[in-house]
């Protein structure tokens, strides 16, 4: 297991290096520069060149990259030339907002998706199942940038029950905080609901067809008891896996929602930094998100092996996490 963790750690470092090099390359290839943004109307070519030199952006690509990497390894992600705020501080200021949004969206998605999946699996291919599938398919096809304005129109503009934008820190009261967070979280959660429902439904249906479930029923156990006591837990591995990955993805994937609802989170930080060509902040935030994503991904993989012994044993152990996820999704391998 430890060798597996070390191997995965090596892959993770490689991913982080490639991601950060890629981001720097993209920012270098993109037209415009932070100096032009700062100088605005005063941006003569000479002034731009002087400011780029002042900021160190006139150095060769890899010199800039390794200079940044060396500092980053010591915990210094640099300071934004636009806001003059250290990137680490900016991330820490905004992380709670994005984390709360992601956790809330995930919670809403699980709270809605699990009952729907249980209903679908209990009555597979029934009218109810098809109806639920139709609704979740609709959710899946509504991107957050459509769901957000629609929710704002109904709940803020028409009903005036929830705010259209803005964020109240949790220190100023849980109620106001949740009122501001609910619409953006819902906008993000819709597509997650659909994905979670489909995964859990498929796994539950597969599990309910297993021999041991039939044996349990033959012993006279009620359908509800069998469902929750014997089928639900082994069917939830895939759901737990994609929930973890969703959380990691949402930390860096709420850009549109944060911009629409004017939430001071990581997504808004990265989008405004891209617009301002603030390569220092973009690089730092992307590195942070990449590390977060990779770490959560690793924990999921490692945790999966810890939960399901078959994953870490046998000749296929090295490919186990992916294979096991695929198997459970198809409902063919479930540990009771």
């Amino acid at each position: 297991m430890w060798s597996d963790i070390l191997r995965r750690g090596g892959y993770a470092l490689l991913v982080i290096l490639l991601v950060t090099i890629g981001v720097q390359a993209l920012m270098a290839l993109a037209p415009g520069s932070v100096a032009e943004v700062i100088l605005g109307e005063a941006a003569t070519p000479e002034a731009v060149a002087a400011m780029n030199a002042e900021l160190g952006f006139d150095r060769p690509f890899f010199v800039q990259y390794f200079d940044w990497l060396f500092s980053a390894l010591q915990g210094d992600l640099g300071t934004s030339p636009i806001t003059h705020i250290p990137v680490t501080e900016a991330i820490m200021q905004r992380l709670p907002v994005t984390l709360e949004l992601a956790v809330l969206a995930l919670s809403i998605a699980l709270l809605v998706a699990i009952p729907l999946a249980v209903l679908s699996a209990t009555f597979p291919n029934s009218g109810l199942d098809r109806g639920i599938n139709a609704v979740t398919s609709a959710f899946l096809s509504i991107p957050a940038f459509v769901a957000g304005p629609v929710l704002v129109f109904f709940f803020a503009v028409t009903m005036k029950t929830l705010p259209a934008l803005g964020w109240t820190p949790i220190e100023e009261g849980l109620g106001p905080n949740l009122r501001g967070a609910i619409l953006p979280a819902l906008a993000v959660a819709l597509t997650e609901i659909a994905a979670f429902h489909r995964v859990l439904r498929a796994d539950l249906i597969g599990t309910l067809r297993e021999d041991y479930v039939a044996a349990a029923r033959a012993k006279g156990m009620t359908g509800t008891y069998v469902l929750f006591r014997h089928a639900f837990r082994p069917s939830s591995f895939s759901l737990l896996t994609i929930s973890g990955l969703s959380l990691a993805r949402l930390i860096g994937g709420t850009i549109i929602v944060e911009a629409l609802f004017v939430l001071p989170g990581i997504g808004q930080l990265i989008s405004s930094s891209i617009i301002q060509r603030d390569v220092v902040t973009v690089q730092g935030v992307v590195a942070f998100i990449a590390v977060g994503f990779v770490v959560i991904n690793m924990l999921v993989d490692v945790g999966y092996g810890a939960i399901d012994p078959r994953v870490r044993r046998g000749p296929r152990a090295r490919k186990a996490p992916v294979a096991a996820k695929a198997r459970t999704t198809q409902g063919k391998a479930v540990s009771a």
Binding site: E41, I85, Q93, A156, V157, K160, W167
Partner: protein, 521 residues
């Protein structure tokens, strides 16, 4: 809708200001109420949505003085204030701001005993520190160009700074509210560095900083030690919201008391929803700017052909959801310089004749339109669709990043681009945009001897009739040499609930935070 079309009598003002004594130090702010008859009352928290989010509060970080007027007038007050009654400028935080030599030097006197909220004296040294800092290329102020017109700042005495200009600048007073020279911060606080300053910005305005969540809400509290009358509201909460619709949504849902806006269709929607608009329409407007120094638009016929070819109302409507408003003349009707001289005329036949004539000479009108993100693609689509109806004219898109706007215009690396010729004060703005002698700010590069002479003459005289005569020539020449095709009025305004009063919008850096009050009933 309360629509206030105003223009400035600036030339009069500016000239009077320089020659006579400019700001008289009365300290009279451009206060005012809208349509309310009751007396202002104190109290309450004003919730404001401005158009952009601050990246910081250091004056060198401000890009435009129309984007965050409430934030900046709250923190820093108004150094000079445009006076809509006189068309001139009054001193706000200064005691006087005068020239006796046609703008070659300016004497700026600060108020006796005035301090920043950290106790640092608001004196001549503070002015010098702030304005010298703005010139520092390492700090990258967007106002560096204007600040650099000040060659040297001499400290005459503790309260008096003498500005020695690089070249005589009679319109300096009018430039103050446009640029960040208007905002004077405490040198002591600035010495701490920008990171520290942005966590506790110090000015001498009617409000003091309380807290700021980057990307979130800025909270300000009334400055009880303000040198003038205290502000009416107890506190202000400001958020920057770029999206026009979301600002209006927030107002409708009860999350804001006032939203700033410059989008025509948003004003229409706000009025339909029962809110009050306070709008100041600038002279001039927004439109297409030709690069007159580069083919094909170095030939005046090519510019005239495009101007004749475009149905500007249709173009403006296409971009403004049917609510476009095209400026027909350079000055708005209530300006003393207004003349009924059409800036451009839609005449498809004349346009085609000119396109054909140029093509016959081997100079077909083929050009690029520089497209910046935002409204740029919509303008391009409308432009291309209209020009597609003609022969011998081709427009293609030159897609650029928004950060390149400054470089594109300063280097002249474009054929046609969108730009603003909106102004309040012709003395400070029009000369800079249209005179062949204004190298740094004449981005269309128009250099027409008659136009130059009229602009110079208008600036040099204090006689209103003479100025009117000269600006009439300016308008005639603009219609003839066509450096710009203006297709949209520039609206500077706010939409408020019926609880909000005292919102006065005139020119730049308005509405001023100190003047706004909330109905407490």
């Amino acid at each position: 809708m309360i629509t206030r079309k105003r223009s400035a009598l600036i030339a009069v003002v500016t000239a009077a200001a320089l020659l006579l004594a400019g700001c008289a130090g009365s300290g009279e702010a451009a206060t005012g109420g809208d349509s309310v008859s009751s007396e202002p009352v104190a109290g309450g928290t004003l919730r404001v949505l401005e158009v952009v989010q601050p990246t910081g509060f250091d004056p060198v970080q401000v890009f435009s003085s129309t984007s965050m007027p409430i934030t900046y007038t709250a923190l820093y007050g108004q150094f000079v204030i445009a006076n809509e009654e006189t068309g001139g400028y009054d001193c706000g935080l200064c005691e006087s701001f005068t020239t006796s030599d046609g703008g070659a030097t300016w004497d700026v006197v600060t108020r006796e005993g005035m301090t920043f909220t950290d106790g640092t004296p608001f004196d001549a040294e503070a002015l010098k520190y702030n304005w010298d800092r703005m010139k520092d290329p390492a700090l990258g102020s967007a106002s560096a160009g204007v600040a650099s017109q000040i060659d040297d700042i001499e400290i005459v005495d503790a309260r008096t700074a003498k500005l020695h200009m690089v070249v005589p600048t009679p319109g300096l007073l009018g430039l103050m509210p446009i640029y960040a020279l208007q905002w004077i911060a405490s040198p002591t606080a600035l010495e701490q560095g920008q990171e520290a300053f942005n966590k506790n910005p110090i000015g001498a305005g009617p409000f003091v900083f309380e807290s700021w969540t980057p990307g979130g809400t800025l909270k300000l509290a009334r400055n009880e030690d303000y040198f003038g009358d205290p502000a009416y509201v107890d506190a202000i909460e400001v958020q920057g919201v770029t999206d026009n619709t979301q600002r209006l949504n927030a107002l409708i849902s009860g999350q804001a008391d006032i939203i700033l806006n410059s989008d025509a269709s948003t004003f229409v929607e706000a009025e339909a929803a029962g809110y009050t608009n306070v709008i100041d329409t600038f002279n001039g407007g927004i439109g297409f700017m030709f690069n007159t120094a580069k083919a094909p638009f170095d030939d005046v016929r090519a510019r005239q052909a495009v101007a004749y070819a475009l149905d500007l109302q249709q173009l403006s409507d296409a971009v403004n959801k049917g609510n476009g408003s095209v400026p027909k003349t350079l000055f708005t009707k209530d300006s003393p310089f207004y003349e009924d001289i059409a800036l451009q005329t839609y005449d498809p036949e004349k346009a085609q004749e000119l396109f054909d004539e140029l093509a016959d000479e081997g100079k077909p009108v083929e050009f690029t339109y520089t497209v910046f993100p935002g409204t740029g693609p919509a303008y391009f689509d409308a432009l291309q669709a209209q020009l597609a109806l003609y022969d011998n004219v081709t427009v293609t898109a030159d897609q650029r990043d928004s950060s390149e706007q400054g470089v594109v215009t300063t280097t002249g690396d474009y054929n046609l681009a969108s730009s603003s010729l909106a102004f309040v004060d012709p003395a400070s703005r029009l000369w800079g945009a249209l005179s062949g002698d204004a190298n740094r700010t004449n981005y269309s590069r128009i250099d027409d001897p008659e136009l130059n002479a009229a602009l110079d003459a208008a600036l040099a005289t204090t006689d209103l009739e003479e100025q009117k005569a000269q600006y009439k020539i300016v308008q005639e020449r603009l219609a003839e040499v066509v450096p710009y095709v203006l297709f949209q009025e520039y609206l500077n305004g706010a939409t408020v609930t019926d609880q909000v009063h005292g919102v006065e919008i005139y020119g730049y850096t308005t509405p001023a935070a100190a003047n706004i009050w909330l109905d407490q009933s």
